[in-house]
Symmetry: C2
Subunit: 172 residues, 2 copies
């Protein structure tokens, strides 16, 4: 998918995140894009990102879906002609549906399912190959009908803040 | 706290986890200990483990509490004279109560709060300094009364499996 990643549109001083910051030399460099309805990303775990040999580490999956959810909230909330607002995670819920094989590129999808002022709720999923569309479409993140391409689902609550302010304490 | 870390008692072939495996050269090497009632660990994030400059990355915190929760479940479930059974995470819920400053060593606590056969539920918390005791004591993980030493809370559901079996699909 073409276009500048959402995270590359964050201001310089808010681009040091270990998961997705372009200014973090040792980070994961998760890069999400917005297709007009949902956030999309892909990521290939490194050989060391394992839980057991052959299977991806759950903490990495939590990191991927967290940064991707934040970016999705930012892109979905950007006004016409504005850059994305920066979001901070208040809560993160990940259901690990089945083991994630190491090797294939993982797909990440996420979509805003609820909004109250600056607070947003994002659902998403990840897995090898093309993650099932229905995973991100407004249902509970732990809907039981994900296909085998989806190995983990996300529900995240976050809050936006304007650059220049202090890193906020999330209100929940 | 003295003693062999719980993760160092996992069998060799189940000790490659990026978060806590002694056989993962590039991993975080989270090391938890059991005090007879709860799991305890400490961890100092690396300089690159940031969300914004000066604040710890939420994905790292999720990774820490995940591996620590799994180890706590393992230690709490070990029979007399047995090594710890290995656990796999079915779901992970993290509430980020406030920003976590980078620099201080973080404390991790966790305790089993529910058990149904091989399935366990673990609550825990983390933060700089000595995390508040009440954080891990059987209440909802997102209880509102955590002191400033607690910056994030955990609720994790997991399932044990015996070494030698395949990496299981978590039942929830």
């Amino acid at each position: 998918m073409p276009g500048i990643p959402i995270q590359h549109q964050y201001p310089d001083d808010l681009s040091h995140c270990y998961g997705c910051g372009r200014n973090n030399d040792k980070g994961l460099h998760i890069a999400s894009r917005w297709d007009g309805e949902e956030g999309l990303a892909s990521f290939t775990p490194r050989p060391e990102h394992i839980a057991l040999p052959g299977y991806v580490y759950g903490g990495l999956l939590a990191s991927l879906v967290d940064c991707h959810g934040v970016a999705t909230a930012a892109a979905a909330s950007a006004g016409e002609g504005e850059g994305p607002q920066r979001y901070v995670t208040a809560s993160l819920h990940v259901d690990f549906l089945r083991p994630t094989p190491l090797g294939p590129e993982l797909t990440l999808r996420a979509r805003v399912v609820e909004r109250r002022g600056r607070k947003v709720v994002v659902d998403g999923d990840t897995g090898p190959g093309r993650a099932a569309r229905q995973g991100a479409g407004g249902r509970r993140a732990h809907a039981p009908n994900h296909g085998p391409g989806v190995t983990a689902t996300l529900r995240q609550a976050g809050e936006g803040f304007r650059p220049g302010g202090r890193f906020p304490e999330p209100a929940r």
